[in-house]
Subunit: 382 residues, 2 copies
């Protein structure tokens, strides 16, 4: 198989619209009820020919991302999905099909459908199998960008199961010692229910940081820490502009800091995604935002039933999380957190104000899309 030339992060477009928390610098912003975010995305997706159930699938993932404070993966990404459909490089209305099945596994063809349509189908199947056989392990080829990985692990968690998901992505991360990128930021997520609605929710890229963090430093004209990225020559850099022409480093950073572990995790995600799925993999995944070819992403969905193991699972998980949260912090104003706690804080803030707070620039972009697509813009409450 021939690979294209090494892709670097310079191909990624800058996040144009929002800061790290989607608000303007003075902390204010426009508030949109979550349901209205969903409805607005549905209107836009329907306007480009998506039937309602599939439009709703993508709308719910985007609204959830913004609701959790992951603004880069919410309304900010709507334009990309619309563009894919306009370019006819993704099929809005197709359903996935099962190619192979055992008691605990399924191999699915996403048929080049919308990522969330493929993802929901696969996770529903994994959940069904986990309830019957203890574990469900579903892998799909022919998928597209599926939004926040955590959306899928949460589906399993809401059924009392432990959920996991992984996806490969466009190559942006350089293997340890390599000059160029060959793997995506390849995220993995694990969601586990504890007591009374509490949970452990890990949702992480296997790169040291996301490209967005480097873009933020560039905008602020501040250096990036060593270990985030390399320049085009393969050397670690502290200059964000040089980094954006180079590649991300894996979790851990330099070899001395065990960056080869993050690189190994990225390759593990690729194994469970593109390699097992028979989709695109590694350096031959299409460039970020490209519509020159189908994405053919590989994705992995796992559900595990804790009832198959020791009784008292919820008590133990809650006990450990409580212990860790109560540990003495090194800096008194920075409490020790469990994965998913920052998102819980964001969700509470959104609930208290009756909707999701957006940066004015995001609202301007939505207004423009609404005009272009001849749909009504999001209704705001503040």
């Amino acid at each position: 198989m021939m690979f294209g030339a090494g892709r670097t992060i310079r191909h990624r477009v800058l996040l144009p619209l929002c800061g790290s928390r989607g608000m303007s610098s003075d902390g204010t912003g426009t508030v949109v009820p979550r349901k209205e975010v969903v409805d607005f995305v549905v209107r836009c997706m329907e306007a480009v020919g998506t039937k309602r159930p599939n439009a709703l699938a993508i709308a719910e993932v985007l609204a959830e991302a913004d609701y959790r404070g992951h603004y880069s993966h919410g309304l900010n990404r709507l334009e990309m999905y619309i563009h894919d459909l306009k370019m006819n490089i993704c099929d809005a209305n197709v359903q996935p099909s099962i190619l192979k099945e055992t008691a605990a596994t399924a191999y699915v063809d996403g048929n080049n459908g919308l990522g969330p349509v493929v993802g929901n189908f696969c996770m529903d199947l994994a959940i069904k199998k986990a309830k019957e056989a203890g574990v469900g392990w579903v892998i799909a080829k022919g998928s597209n960008h599926y939004g926040i990985a955590g959306w899928y692990s949460i589906q399993a968690m809401q059924q009392g199961l432990i959920g996991m998901s992984m996806t490969n992505t466009s190559p942006l991360v350089a293997p340890t010692r390599a000059k160029k990128a060959a793997l995506g930021t390849n995220p993995l997520t694990v969601a586990a229910p504890a007591k009374d609605g509490d949970s452990f929710l890990l949702d992480m890229a296997t790169s040291a940081v996301a490209v967005g963090k480097i873009e933020m430093q560039k905008r602020k004209e501040e250096p990036i820490p060593k270990g985030w990225a390399i320049g085009p020559g393969g050397q670690m850099t502290t200059d964000p502009q040089t980094a954006l022409m180079g590649a991300l480093m894996p979790l851990g950073g330099a070899e001395l800091h065990s960056g080869y572990k993050g690189y190994g995790l990225g390759l593990m995600v690729e194994l469970f995604c593109g390699i097992l799925a028979g989709g695109s993999y590694g350096p031959n995944v299409r460039k970020w935002m490209s519509t020159a070819e189908e994405a053919n992403l590989g994705q992995c969905f796992v559900a595990l039933n804790p009832e198959c193991f020791a009784p008292g699972y919820h008590d133990r998980l809650q006990d450990l999380m409580n212990f860790i949260r109560k540990m003495e912090p090194t800096e008194p104003h920075k409490p020790v957190l469990i994965a998913g706690d920052p998102e819980k804080i964001r969700m509470k803030e959104n609930d208290d104000r009756g909707g999701i707070q957006y940066h004015p620039n995001q609202m301007k972009a939505c207004a423009k899309w609404a005009q272009d697509l001849k749909v009504s813009p999001p209704k705001t409450i503040a």
Copy 2:
């Protein structure tokens, strides 16, 4: 549940015997055929009352660790296993029992047996289930230190499956923002067969580095990089002695470098081990090397059958590994590697010289144990 006081890495004994490659500083050492390493461990274990099959189980894991160049987990650990048996805190001859089963899962009680006896039992079960149901997911409580995690994933790989394993360990790692340790180095391993005996073999602690690396810096009287460890006050330190009184940092290091991802991975391993198993977990796992109570470790073993997914799996994995290995390295003399490649180099070296090369101090220690236990010491060939 009450937790004991926070444990820190100062409780861990210094690795007394070997450098990072088990050889003396001039690169020479004593060579012991691999089979003789196995036989020597069997003699020692039998001398403290272990019946042959169980003695062999532990001997094979220790010999494999040394053969792969992981000297800390080979003969260097024999004394600890012997001590556990002499103190009657681990049962040399017990067999594990299955407490619960589904098509794809099993919950096992290790019955406080030797770690490798429990581990082999569980991975055999996971392999059997993966062949029948596509995936086998086995979790054990009541286990003990099981040697290199990679031993178990390799067993599945040798059957054409993808193997995974995780174990919890004594608390040495501080959660991000916390002053003290609450999690172990909690390793995870994934082994996947490629073509013609080639493979991807990830076997990594979820901490930034192992304690041994800090001990080496102390011996050399050199500082440690920022991001490896914190001192007793919770602050990052570059002084190895201060670090040894503090705690390890998770993979990634500081929060700015996404250390919370490594911490999240460590907690994920604990979820699949102590929490689901109903064994000891987090800060209540007994201190490293303590024999004051049973270890009651939780361990997780997973096997996945690639035949359940896309045809051509081996070709794709090999293709990706070949592509990455041929990437241009940043430093010409440091080729880009795949997880498991450093071990392949060590194994080839050992094969070429007809045995495993040991530091003279390791041989002295073996001679002393042989004398104490009234067995013959390892026969050397150089």
